[in-house]
């Protein structure tokens, strides 16, 4: 009977008839989407953006009367060996870490997509040279590359460190973009645009990118988390941001000290925040991947 209800004879009014679309309930829409990750990430980002409101102490201040205090009602996450408030530092530090993640992501995307598109639409030889170059770059361990560039750049700040992470991390993206572009570059719409004399960048923005954006979404999203992780690694090694700039990485660089002083909260809490954030981002990224994979299997 239900099937019969799905069919209706509309006769001559077929042109104006609007079929009643069954409303999908909101909770069903959310099914399969990474809601928990999204909510946690939103909370963390919100906290970082409004760090002034959320933090209850000055993150750069040394509260010398409260050294190495365990988490309590005044210092929610405790203090380190010089009396800095971990709770406030987390939010201010997260701001820096996430900003670096986003900025690096933008740099990676711009370079990676442009490079990939140029390589994808170019002739065989240029393409080969461009791709081999990218592969060589990709084969060098990125930490090595980053340290090398950092030592040349001199004094570090947030922008420089994002730039360095960005320009040493776009190789993988360029390769994916290039293989996507290869598939669609001979499509009729690209050809017709070309014959009409549309410039390369217009073709890239209006024809190429919209057609592969879903398949690189995962790489782009996960580049945020890998950039945050890279910054933490560098700061942990003492190669990243100067000491007075708080980030999750520079907070973790206190871990060695804390380990000796048995102050677990100095290590666990920034580590936990970092881990949770990275996990959420990865979760969201892998959702995008699943989505694109499903589309392909639909074909």
């Amino acid at each position: 009977m239900a099937e019969i209800n799905s069919f209706k004879l509309v006769g001559t009014e077929y042109k104006t008839y609007v079929p009643c679309v069954k409303k999908i309930p909101f909770c069903k829409k959310l099914k399969g989407k990474p809601i928990i990750s999204a909510i946690i990430l939103a909370v963390i980002i919100f906290g970082c953006v409004f760090a002034e409101k959320v933090g209850n102490h000055n993150p750069t201040e040394f509260y010398l009367q409260n050294l190495n205090t365990a988490p309590n009602s005044e210092f929610y996450f405790g203090t380190d060996s010089l009396g800095r408030d971990i709770f406030s530092m987390i939010w201010y530090g997260g701001r820096v870490s996430i900003a670096i993640g986003l900025m690096s992501m933008v740099i990676i995307s711009v370079i990676g997509i442009t490079y990939g598109c140029i390589s994808g639409v170019s002739g065989e030889k240029v393409d080969a040279i461009m791709m081999r170059t990218a592969e060589i770059g990709n084969s060098i361990p990125s930490i090595l590359l980053v340290i090398l560039i950092m030592s040349v750049m001199g004094e570090e700040n947030i922008f420089k460190i994002s730039f360095v992470i960005g320009i040493s991390g776009w190789f993988a993206l360029a390769r994916i973009v290039r293989s996507e572009v290869r598939q669609i570059r001979n499509s009729d719409y690209v050809l017709s645009a070309k014959t009409m004399g549309v410039g390369f960048f217009s073709i890239m923005i209006f024809h190429l990118i919209p057609n592969f954006v879903s398949s690189i979404m995962f790489v782009i999203v996960s580049s945020i988390s890998s950039s945050i992780a890279m910054e933490s690694t560098l700061s942990f090694l003492g190669l990243g941001l100067p000491v007075d700039v708080i980030s999750w990485g520079s907070m973790l660089s206190l871990a060695n000290k804390a380990l000796l002083l048995n102050t677990w909260w100095v290590i666990i809490i920034p580590g936990l925040f970092l881990m949770v954030t990275l996990n959420c981002i990865t979760n969201i990224g892998s959702f995008f991947r699943k989505e694109t994979n499903r589309k392909h299997s639909n074909l």
Binding site: F62, Q65, S81, L82, D244, N256, K257, L260, N262
Partner: protein, 540 residues
Amino acid sequence: MKMKKIMSIAALLAVCIGFTGCGQSTSSSATTSAPSSSVSSGTTDKTLDLSDLSNTLVYAGESESTINPILNTHDEITDIIFSGLMKYDGDGTPICDLAESYTYDDPTLTYTFKLRDGVKWHDGTPFTADDVVYTYDVLFKDKTLSASITSNYKDIESVTAPDEKTVVIKLKQYNAAMLGYFTIGILPKHLTEGQDINTMPFNQAPVGTGRYKFVKWDTAGGMIILEANKDYYGKVPNIERIIYKTVAVESTKATMLQSGEADLAWLNAKYADSFRNNDNFKNIDFKTADYRGISMDCSTDFWKQNADSIGVLNYAIDKDSVVKSVLAGRGVAAYSPIQLNAYGGNKDADIYSYDLNKFAEEMDKLGWKKGSDGIYERNGQKFHFTIQVRDYEEERVDIANVCASQLKKAGVDMEVVLVSKFDWDAGYNGFLSGYAAQFDPDMCYSNFVTDASENLMHYSNSKVDELLEKARHTENPDERKELYHQFEKVYAENPGIVLIAFLDGNYVSIKGLSGLDTTRVLGHHARGVMWNIEDWTLNR
């Protein structure tokens, strides 16, 4: 299916445990077999057998680049490889070492040293008076020498050796601290003559007359290996071998102790505290004369124009809370560079107290006005200066950061720049310094007198010059004390260093090490702990 999984995990675990079991048994068999092999090979064997550590002390020390008594003044290692005419005893009084006896003739200002018989360099060559003459000639004649201690020897007129066993040192004028400066290690003439003292390869393969002899510098492994000098003229040390690991980072030293990679290390107060109440370790707390302060480079433009505003910074720094926090209470707030010396400690020199109102008042008097950003300004110039701190010296980094934050609150912008190596030409306005005058108060002469050899920061104050000059040439101890008290006061009024705190020397060792004697007041970097190393015993 599940059962299979559990089984396979169990099997994996069993294999792992089996392997570790094997690992343990093989390593233990290796250590038991090692002594026999080392006995058979003896000490003549050049390939060192480091598997037997039962009588080897592993010391986590500072990083080294040269071992030379004239160039290194901060390090333990030169004190045990080399020896001087004199040495300091536990109370810091100079006593005879390479000299068997000495006489001083007051009217002619002449020291005559009788040298010991049968002293040999570590390479077997006999030690003679020529070596002494050569070393002192280097110290007060060699113009290319870039050493920090040459100012201490400028009162020497001549050093001669009438015969092989006698050294005569004639002074230009009386110098109260001279006998102490004769403790400087003697260099072998036959190995170093004619070479550039600053760069010669000898500095990496030293030969001395001291209690331990240099064996090998393993630069890749970061360790210097020393062996007890069996031909030593005094008591031959009980501990056969010392492995001096060159680590600079404080947390690494603490980790090494914890993991059993080192037996003895000087740690900062906080790390040392983490070993207290641990039965496997001993805390040995020395007193030191080592202070930390913010030294201003008076030759930089900023301080040339604002030298009058260094002392006032003392009002804005809560030194007691720095001691309580960074030094975990193991130290004392500083007001004078020789405050803990027997000749120093003039309470009248303690003219600054932590008082922000007073600070604001004094700044006003000096003509500083607060700008819109809360930082003082004068003549269109912000009160902003940079200091450099080595990044691996955690205690100094912490002191610098805490002081910077306190100064900022008061309206002074002190920028802390972390460097991996001090750069004196980069134009930093100062550095977080440390010095000590643990023996004679004259040890501060080279720091504070205009153009003296260790006056890195180009401090110059004619009144200070006059007092320190006079004090070193005064014989009567009471008069000297009076002069040093005056110096402390004069210096406090116009300082080049914002003195912060004196630290304790917190050593931590494993339980089995004994014999360390805390009667000695240690120097900079807690130097001097090995003053009685021949009496130490190690019982693992």
